[in-house]
């Protein structure tokens, strides 16, 4: 199917190798284990496979069939047509890592532009060529900070308002080092926006403070005080950011973050049931040499012409092996390209417009909902960007079930991750949501309430 060999080719090739049959090339494999009889479904032609995959896909309900208010880490934004058209160029997607710069300038320039855009968007100095996703970028921030203090500062403070999956992945990555404490996200410290109890835990043993902006509940929190305290005590601060929000909000670089990272999916990458996405990661100059992952830099070629290459590779695993700053090898190549094209196509105006539309529509939705019986939006949950929390009088699962019956994905049940918020629902509103969609949501909820 994907092997071009004719019977004649095989004979000629075997003849030149000097063996009688292909099986002779596998004689070094222990005979009793050779050629297992695999129990797999019968093979399909392309036509059959296409039909089979369409049939599997049709067993899903999608955000195109349903009206979706789901966010909680992945967002349904409009993706301009030009992005996928360009991603499908074989020159981009069937190339390998640009280790040979002479024939990889396309990939290298795209990564260089990606790094530049991320720096401008976040207000940071240096961006790497990406991590796997927001959660693994969070873990890499912890590794970076821990290493920065030569493992001497033993405390990582993570806010409870950081995406629960990010916090889980940080703990998975760091579980082998029992001397490292990952704290600050317990119910006692809580999620109050003033963060007094959290800030009080920053001390001289703290390597890194991790917060999210907007936080997991969509809230825009003022971290000035927190960052000031952390810096006074010598700790680094990593801010997880939603890139769409930065079309509107002060970037982390301007409020003093040492590391800004986040989930790049909102930048033109399809929901695709959770992946592949993109973890972006940027730092201030002082941390440049601690960065993990690939970096593209500018140089010249033998004729003095501008060129791009992978640089500072001595930090990486293929050179440093066990002394590398991380084991990361691949980056999210094609996903960084998608984000680069997205940011170029929307540009300054487009991103500002998307951020503003998200903000305006989310506030309209929150307004409408909080005016209804059975739903409360309290001050603790404001100000917010494009995602907000409402307290429901009815059990959240029941509300969501009712909405789904009316073809609405109603949002995220916070009780799954936060026992103290078991009556709370998290709703996301993007530019794709129309006013009548919000009115329909309210009408269906009204019916639930009185029905």
């Amino acid at each position: 199917m994907f092997t071009p060999h004719t019977k004649h080719d095989v004979e000629v090739m075997l003849g030149s190798i000097g063996v009688g049959k292909i099986e002779d090339l596998f004689k070094e494999i222990p005979a009793q284990f050779r050629y297992p009889d695999l129990n797999l479904p019968p093979r399909l032609t392309e036509m059959e496979a296409a039909a089979e995959l369409e049939s599997i896909a049709s067993a899903n309900a999608t955000t195109k069939d349903l009206l979706s208010f789901l966010g909680a880490g992945a967002y349904d934004h409009y993706i301009p047509a030009a992005i996928d058209n360009l991603l499908q160029r074989g020159e981009f997607y069937t190339a390998y890592t640009p280790y040979q710069p002479e024939i990889s300038q396309g990939t290298l320039q795209a990564i260089f532009e990606f790094q530049s855009l991320i720096c401008k968007l976040t207000g940071m100095d240096v961006s790497n060529a990406s991590h796997y996703d927001g959660a693994t970028a969070a873990a890499e921030a912890v590794i970076l900070a821990y290493g920065h203090f030569r493992n001497k500062r033993k405390k990582i403070l993570v806010s409870r308002a950081v995406n629960p999956q990010y916090r889980q992945v940080i703990r998975t990555y760091m579980q082998a080092d029992t001397s490292l404490q990952i704290v600050g996200d317990d119910p006692e410290t809580g999620i109050a926006p003033e963060m007094d109890k959290f800030i009080a835990q920053i001390d001289h043993d703290t390597a890194l403070v991790v917060v999210q902006y907007p936080d997991f509940f969509g809230r825009i929190i003022d971290y000035t005080q927190l960052i000031e305290t952390a810096h006074q005590l010598g700790a680094l601060v990593a801010v997880a950011v939603n890139p769409t929000a930065l079309g509107l909000l002060t970037p982390p670089g301007e409020i003093g973050a040492d590391i800004a990272f986040g989930e790049g999916q909102p930048l033109g990458i399809p929901l695709s049931y959770g992946g592949p996405y993109l973890g972006f990661f940027a730092v201030k100059d002082a941390l440049l040499r601690k960065l993990a992952g690939r970096l593209v830099g500018e140089t010249v070629d033998a004729d003095g012409k501008l060129a791009y290459v992978l640089t500072l590779t001595a930090r990486e695993q293929h050179i440093r092996r066990e002394k590398a700053s991380s084991n990361i090898c691949s980056n999210q190549g094609l996903m960084t390209l998608a984000a680069t094209i997205y940011m170029s196509l929307l540009g300054k105006h487009g991103l500002q417009q998307v951020a503003n539309l998200c903000y305006q529509k989310a506030h309209f939705a929150a307004d409408q909902l909080s005016g209804m019986d059975g739903f409360t939006l309290v001050d603790e949950w404001t100000p917010f960007f494009h995602e907000f929390v409402v307290k429901c009088d009815e059990p959240v699962d029941q509300v969501l079930e009712h909405l789904l019956q009316h073809n609405i994905l109603g949002g995220y049940n916070l009780g799954q991750d936060y026992p103290e918020l078991k009556d709370h629902l998290l709703l996301a509103v993007t530019e794709k949501i129309k006013r009548e969609d919000i009115e329909y949501l309210c009408a269906v909820l009204q019916e639930e309430n009185h029905g």
Partner: protein, 493 residues
């Protein structure tokens, strides 16, 4: 002429994609949080398209030609994969949808887990890891937790053959393991005597790539596994080279405990210019409970009328979550499609033709280039890119000169145990004529090395840029476009 960057191309006031006006009453922006400057490009859509089309043409790619990059398995990426992974039924599903609304996705993931189990001979598979190195991290986390749960706290060493990928030691070090290098013997196999001497109560495990990075199948695989197990260690299989073994040999059958796959090597998902990859991990029975949380399972058996209900299940001793959501689902779709189209006959055909192609090239080249381990190879082989009688020529020169012949060079300077290594992996999707053209170029280059070495030293000649000054890049670091405080120029709106 160098292609300008998107910042160079930007003109104040120009717009690409725009959005409708707000259809809701205006809410005031949050005081104190509104950003001032936003220095992003301002371009029309066509300019953006031309820019990226133009830079794409400066790439070499599988769709353009032969890409014999050893250990990377640059096989053809079938177009059907791209089409089906973009079906809205998949691409427009949100990872937090209720399980009953995404039964298609869960069925596909479950089926891929089952297929990979069967292909490699294991008890369970997680699809969560994002890449090979990420899979290795999962493997070393499992090794760590397994010993910890058994109270074997003294098991702190991981043995890694000197031929291994750099990610192996880097992954082990992330968990605080002591990395102990394991030498190869004269045939390129793991040195059994050295292995025995290193197997003691400190042994946590061995990371073992088979076929190894020399492209050789370690004939002592059963013995290696037995020695490690007897010492109480676990054997981690680096599945980077599974392409040679599909339908021919199952690592699980000889007792390997953990194995990662590279869907972007073996199962035809595209490399994407450096990612996204996908690195599922398979484990034997005694390690199933340690897999990352969650896995996809059948939560309600089906019957004659109803399909089974698929959902997430939670391994009881799990190392925890390793990534957001459900792994690189888009890659799962492509690999599932590929395996479905190959079936067991097709998988075996892949391995056989990959090995046939590699042996054919090895045979044709080994007279002209030194082959340090002269044995039948598997899917790839390693030559020395140097000759004693031409002292000034290095593997790098040969690699760069190949570009003038319109080939992507082999991997060079890896594995580290071969001088001036040229690691060649043709893959099964290449036709004999292509291999013959490559041989011709390689022989011609060997001749040029003697008759006109400058051709090699100065190569490449016809590429979009020529040899790049990597020292300058590291010394005068420029890691993003220069954008002044006053950028963009011109009248502001």
């Amino acid at each position: 002429m160098a292609e300008p960057t998107i910042f160079d191309l930007s003109v104040t006031g120009r717009k690409g994609v725009t959005f409708p006006k707000a259809d809701v009453p205006e809410t005031a922006l949050p005081k104190g949080f509104v950003r001032g400057k936003l220095q992003l490009p301002e371009m029309s859509e066509m300019e953006v398209v031309r820019h990226f089309t133009s830079i794409s043409q400066k790439n070499y790619a599988i769709d353009l030609g032969f890409y014999p990059l050893g250990s990377c398995t640059m096989k053809y990426n079938p177009k059907i994969n791209e089409a089906v992974s973009r079906l809205p039924g998949f691409a427009a599903t949100h990872p937090r949808q209720p399980e009953n609304s995404v039964q298609g996705n869960l069925y596909l993931m479950y089926s891929l887990q089952e297929m990979l189990k069967e292909i490699a001979g294991f008890a369970a598979v997680t699809l969560q890891p994002a890449a090979g190195a990420h899979g290795e991290l999962v493997g070393t986390l499992i090794i760590h937790k397994y010993h910890k749960d058994r109270g074997d706290h003294q098991r702190t060493r991981i043995l890694i053959p000197d031929s291994a990928h750099g990610t192996n030691p880097a992954s082990s070090a992330m968990l605080g393991f002591e990395v102990v290098p394991l030498p190869s013997d004269a045939r390129g196999n793991v040195d059994l005597e050295a292995l025995k001497s290193l197997c003691d109560e400190r042994l946590a495990g061995l990371m073992f790539t088979n076929p190894n990075t020399l492209g050789l199948f370690d004939e002592n695989v059963c013995e290696v596994v037995r020695i490690v197990h007897e010492a109480g260690g676990l054997v981690y299989g680096d599945g980077a080279n599974m392409n040679a073994l599909l339908g021919v040999f199952r690592p699980g059958d000889v007792g390997i405990d953990i194995l990662h796959f590279n869907l972007h090597k073996t199962f035809s998902t595209p490399h994407g210019g450096g990612g996204p990859g996908s690195g599922p991990v398979a484990v034997a029975n005694h390690l199933v409970d340690y897999l990352p949380d969650p896995l996809v399972g059948i939560v309600e058996e089906g019957d004659e009328e109803n399909a089974p209900l698929y959902g997430f299940i939670h391994p009881v001793k799990s190392i925890g979550r390793i990534k957001s959501f459900n792994g690189h689902f888009g890659m799962h779709i492509r690999a599932f499609t590929y395996i479905s189209m190959l079936g067991k006959e097709g998988l075996r055909d892949v391995a056989e033709k990959a090995v046939l192609n590699a042996n054919y090239l090895q045979q044709k080249l080994k007279g002209t280039y030194t082959l340090p381990y002269d044995r039948p190879c598997m899917h790839e082989f390693v030559l020395e890119g140097m000759w004693k009688d031409v002292p000034g020529i290095h593997a790098l020169d040969i690699a760069k000169r190949l570009m003038d012949y319109d080939f992507h060079p082999p991997t060079n300077y890896f594995p580290l145990i071969v001088h001036e290594a040229l690691m060649i992996e043709p893959t099964e999707t290449e036709a004999k004529e292509t291999l013959d053209r490559f041989v011709e170029a390689m022989l011609k280059i060997a001749e040029e090395a003697r008759t006109n070495p400058e051709l090699l030293h100065d190569a490449p000649h016809h590429t979009p840029v020529r040899r790049c000054d990597e020292l300058k890049a590291a010394k005068d670091l420029v890691l993003c476009c220069y954008v002044s405080e006053n950028w963009p120029p011109g009248p502001q709106e």
